[in-house]
């Protein structure tokens, strides 16, 4: 019988991403509800020293797959290794993050394992000993609860920043073990030729605590310095709507929404963004939403906690000045 809850850790350049701790914390809650163990799977190259990080958050075991071909992340190599580990150990529940990388990995992994997978979930529960996942559909216009039928492990991805993180308990530690796997070059059917990074080398939006986003109302790429100045003062990252990205004003990695990143920061400030449903799909679970828009009827105000009706070119610089007073 399938036993145990597994979470797949996400790391980039050897740094554990925040979503990994969210997954461990949620995994712990589900493992407790099932009365089973929680195992974290960590992949990378020379990564073993990071394995100790998960015990304090509730992991019982950390399984480390260390191989130079696992850095950087490639879909083929990760899918090959994780699918071997899952088949050999038969966990009951398998959770990944609904980050860009996590969704890419989970999609292929579910296909390889021939199991169902619930994408981008906001709530998990154990009912009658099995996983029930809740997820937004139709760009958040409805919510569905789904279950898995004769499909093991029960697999899902969790929306970043929705699951609460356990207070780490330094007295707790997890057993660290080496994963047994083979990585055959024949499994690597696609070849990464090169990687091109967008110039913006800042905090990943899905991990940002605060986000200031600009849309078509910014009028051009040269005006984003207004948002960057505010972001600097309040410690935020800068995002964008798809209109701004499609216009070439901002890199795609800045896009918030259905086809961009799904974010849930503590503070989301939408400047010159109308609030199309596809944009809302990417940010409506933020804790506090502020909208600045010159159109009092813009739909974004219906989803906002605080609103300013006005010209962002007046309001945002004034806001930056006011915020400086508190620093």
């Amino acid at each position: 019988m399938a036993q145990g809850v597994w979470t797949i850790a996400e790391q980039r350049d050897g740094e554990i991403r925040k979503i990994s701790y969210e997954l461990v914390s949620e995994g712990r809650r589900l493992a407790d509800a099932l009365g089973q163990e929680l195992t974290v799977v960590l992949l990378g190259s020379n990564i073993k020293d990071k394995a100790a990080a998960f015990g304090p958050y509730g992991a019982n075991k950390v399984m480390v797959a260390d191989d130079s071909r696992l850095e950087p992340y490639t879909t083929d190599a990760y899918v090959s290794v994780i699918s071997q580990l899952v088949k050999a150990n038969e966990p009951a529940v398998l959770l990944l993050g609904a980050s860009v990388q996590g969704k890419d990995l989970a999609g292929r992994l579910a296909a390889r394992l021939d199991v169902a997978m619930a994408q981008d979930c906001t709530v998990f529960a154990i009912e009658g000993g099995t996983l029930v996942a809740t997820r937004p559909i139709y760009a958040g216009k409805a919510y569905a609860k789904v279950t898995f039928e004769n499909s093991w492990p029960q697999m899902a991805t969790a929306r970043p920043k929705v699951m609460s993180v356990n207070e780490p308990d330094p007295s707790k530690s997890a057993e660290v073990m080496d994963a047994a796997f083979t990585l055959d070059d024949a499994d690597l059917k696609t070849k990464v030729m090169d990687v091109v990074k967008d110039e913006s080398g800042k905090v990943d939006l899905t991990e940002a605590d605060k986000i200031v986003s600009g849309g078509r109302g910014m009028k051009g790429p040269e005006n984003y310095y207004i948002l960057e100045a505010l972001a600097d003062v309040i410690g935020a990252s800068v995002g964008a709507s798809r209109s701004a990205v499609d216009a070439g004003w901002r890199p795609h990695s800045d896009q918030v929404g259905q086809t961009g990143k799904v974010v849930s920061p503590n503070l989301y400030v939408a400047c010159g963004i109308s609030g199309a449903i596809q944009h809302l799909a990417g940010m409506s679970t933020s804790k506090v939403i502020v909208a600045i828009n010159k159109d009092a009827d813009a739909p974004i105000f219906q989803k906002a906690d605080y609103g300013v009706v006005g010209d962002l070119f007046d309001v945002v610089p004034a806001l930056t000045e006011e915020a400086k007073k508190y620093v």
Binding site: Q119, Y138, F148, S151, S253, L267, V308
Partner: protein, 263 residues
């Protein structure tokens, strides 16, 4: 090189631009009701655009497959007007409410029936459930190399080279054909089709083949792995917008105070 054969999988969904007020939930029947016309899922249109560009660049024959309980050929004929050579509808009562696995299984059956392909293109995700699964499962079922989230696709002697979106930018990934690629919106919107061209296609005498379970040899209902147990309208986030009043400076001052109270 001989002309390459591309299969594009295109699903039909209620217009995703429909406002929230036109979407309701039948919690008993477990159905989402959308009062909006059917359209081709936007990412599948992007996939078709990518296919047509490849056809223009290196020559290709494009077959579009569309699966559903009832597929509107008026909606799908647009694909022919845009440059597809062949459209096959996959229609059957049994194709209703399929999950990602059973949809992929049915498409795999149809693709094997078509045969002789070099490249399969799907949208990165359907515009309704956003699972991003069907293309990847399909690739796995057909044993093909898969590349997800294409921003740009080119063909280089027998291989497909894709700019694949990653969190911090993109990577260029190469695979030998036959291969499957899921396409993202950065590829570009489906080209504009004039009304006259569209009408000509819709009213055209050309008959569109329609295949059912018997033709593809797959019974997808038996392959369902996911069940919906409840549907609901979005939770009320309890947001009630509080507007800042005054001059721009006063508004800014009040908002700054809100920001600081959040720390």
């Amino acid at each position: 090189m001989t002309e390459i054969r591309i299969i594009v999988c295109a699903t039909q969904i209620p217009d995703p631009e429909a406002p929230l007020s036109d979407v309701s939930v039948d919690a008993q029947k477990l159905e989402v009701l959308v009062d909006a016309p059917q359209v081709i899922s936007p990412f599948d249109e992007n996939a078709l655009e990518a296919a047509v560009r490849i056809k223009e660049a290196v020559g290709a024959k494009i077959t579009v497959l569309s699966l559903g309980k009832k597929v509107s050929d008026t909606v799908l004929r647009k694909t022919l007007a845009a440059g597809a050579d062949e459209l096959i509808l996959l229609e059957d009562e049994a194709f209703d409410k399929l999950d990602s696995h059973s949809t992929a299984a049915a498409l795999a059956g149809a693709i094997q029936t078509v045969g002789g392909y070099d490249l399969i293109l799907t949208g990165r995700q359907a515009g309704d459930w956003d699972s991003g699964q069907v293309g990847l499962i399909l690739g796995e079922m057909l044993g093909l190399p898969c590349i997800n989230l294409a921003r740009e696709i080119s063909i280089e002697d027998g291989s497909v080279v894709v700019k694949k979106g990653i969190p911090e930018g993109y990577e260029r990934v190469k695979a030998t054909m036959p291969a499957l690629v899921t396409v993202s919106n950065e590829v570009g919107e489906l080209r504009y089709i004039s009304r006259t061209k569209m009408l000509k296609m819709i009213q055209g005498a050309r008959s569109i083949p329609s295949w059912s379970v018997g033709d593809i040899g797959v019974h997808p209902e038996a392959l369902q792995k996911m069940a919906i147990t409840a549907l609901s309208s979005p939770p009320d986030m309890g947001r009630d917008c509080q507007f800042m009043e005054g001059t721009p400076e006063e508004k800014a001052g009040k908002l700054a105070a809100v920001f600081m109270s959040l720390r």
